[in-house]
């Protein structure tokens, strides 16, 4: 081996070693939640979003075409099903009107919890989660429309996730199915509080339920509003399977069909955003001398 070859080999080894060390360092720096890295990541996403959108367009087109063919094939059956569903919905609507009126009367008596007034802004999902290790989506609105970190993202079916990074025209949403996602919830029928934890898969896990709680299969799981980041009453999913201590929840939103979402802007007044800026979603309870956390609920979650 010539001397110049040896020097070249040594130089290559140094570069390779440097790249490996850089990769590992990036992993730990990424986990350290540095603001500069967050900003860099979001600036990069913002720059790449139009390119990703352009490249994805033909692929989405193929999917739409396949979906179109499938829809035409099942149109007749679909029509019968929709008519039956429409009849059922009409009956439900009448029932809902009655219940709404009853609910209004009860609220005036008990002062029950109400959802804060937030403005929904529609956005398009630019990306979809493609990796097995992170469930996030990039959406087409950002700080320019008033989106801030911590804003909930929903569809008509329920909660999708929370905004974690905001650029000028785009924002990144941590979906409730991500393993780092923790959503304070209550069981709709029994009102027991708990936390849904993402599994990076199609289902969530319901944890930290009190021992006395007896969830039922099919029971609705709603956001509890504890912590103040999310409004209460947003559908998260339904109890799908119970195996001993493990309670599996099927999300209310079909994430595979996510095209458009609504970001609920506002309603974060009084939340300590400095914690959100550090990427820490723990929000300390407001110390106001009063034990009332939500309108109509005391600190132990009981109705007043």
């Amino acid at each position: 081996m010539r001397l110049s070859d040896k020097a070249g080999l040594r130089q290559r080894r140094i570069v390779h070693g440097f790249l490996i060390i850089l990769s590992f360092s990036l992993m730990f720096l990424g986990k350290a939640d540095l603001t500069a890295l967050h900003n860099l990541r979001m600036a990069g996403s913002e720059f790449l979003a139009p390119i990703v959108d352009t490249v994805s367009a033909p692929i989405r087109g193929i999917e739409t075409m396949i979906e179109g063919v499938r829809t035409v094939a099942s149109l007749r059956a679909e029509n019968v099903r929709v008519q039956a569903e429409n009849d059922l919905l009409k009956r439900w609507r009448r029932r809902a009107e009655i219940l709404e009126s009853e609910n209004r009367q009860l609220r005036s008596v008990t002062g029950a919890a109400t959802v804060e007034n937030r403005i929904p802004i529609t956005a398009r999902a630019v990306t979809a989660p493609g990796g097995s290790f992170a469930h996030t989506v990039l959406i087409s609105i950002g700080a320019g429309k008033g989106v801030v970190r911590g804003n909930p993202v929903v569809t008509a079916d329920g909660l999708v996730g929370i905004v974690i990074d905001v650029g000028v025209k785009h924002a990144r949403v941590l979906m409730i199915s991500d393993i780092n996602s923790r959503i304070p919830v209550i069981l709709a029928s029994s009102s027991w509080p708990g936390l849904t934890v993402g599994q990076n898969g199609p289902f969530l896990e319901l944890q930290f339920l009190p021992g006395e709680a007896k969830p039922k299969i099919g029971e609705l799981v709603l956001t509890s509003g504890h912590g103040g980041v999310l409004p209460n009453g947003l559908p998260v999913g339904r109890v799908d399977k119970i195996e001993g201590d493990k309670i599996r929840v099927s999300p209310a939103v079909d994430f595979r069909q996510l095209s458009y979402v609504s970001v609920l802007v506002g309603g974060l007044d009084g939340i300590d955003n400095s914690d959100l800026d550090l990427g820490n979603f723990y929000t300390p309870l407001p110390v106001t001398g009063s034990t009332r956390l939500l309108k109509g609920l005391n600190s132990s979650g009981k109705r007043r």
């Binding site: 390779h16 790249l19 994805s56 990796g131």
Partner: protein, 178 residues
């Protein structure tokens, strides 16, 4: 006096850099296509790893076209777009490249069946490496089904990917001959 054009021709046509640049650009494009495929309901949360198939093929048959820096770039780009652990995919791909370099003469003489098996083992090890890193850093075990699905789909797509790249390569060869 010597004709000066011959020096310029040599400089223009013997450099690997333009081809390396094209290979890296194609790798990055494949990452974007992966992200596009994630829009299909079937690939939600587990898009096939097309860039890995490409890296595997090029590393075996045209290793000069893909220097380690290009592999690092493709990996980081993937981490960035999929919002994965920054550097996780990049380091896994670079380690795979080293393993391929080490066994390159044996892989070049293997038939397709053996290559398929080798790719299966390599991809499983890469996923396992990423899984271990993820578990160490997040202190949590993610759902294994999407990872297994991703491995399965990528393995099914390997013959198609190889066929496409062989076809593309022979087309380029023919154009060169003409």
């Amino acid at each position: 006096m010597k004709d000066q054009r011959s020096y310029f021709e040599k400089a223009d046509f013997h450099s690997d850099f333009p081809l390396q640049f094209l290979a890296a650009a194609f790798g990055l494009m494949l990452v974007l296509i992966e992200l596009g495929l994630a829009h299909w309901p079937i690939f939600h949360g587990a898009a096939p790893n097309l860039s890995l198939v490409f890296i595997y093929y090029v590393m075996i048959y045209h290793s000069k076209l893909l220097p380690i820096f290009s592999i690092f770039l493709i990996g980081i780009f993937g981490d960035f777009l999929f919002s994965d652990l920054l550097g996780g995919r990049a380091s896994a791909l670079m380690l795979l490249a080293y393993v391929i370099q080490y066994r390159i003469s044996r892989l070049q003489q293997s038939d397709f069946g053996e290559l398929w098996l080798d790719f299966s083992i390599s991809f499983t090890l890469i996923s396992l490496f990423q899984l271990v890193l993820f578990m160490l850093i997040n202190m949590a075990i993610p759902s294994l089904n999407p990872i297994l699905f991703q491995i399965g789909v990528t393995l099914l797509l390997l013959p198609f990917g190889f066929l496409m790249m062989f076809a593309f390569h022979s087309l380029l060869q023919k154009m060169k001959v003409v």
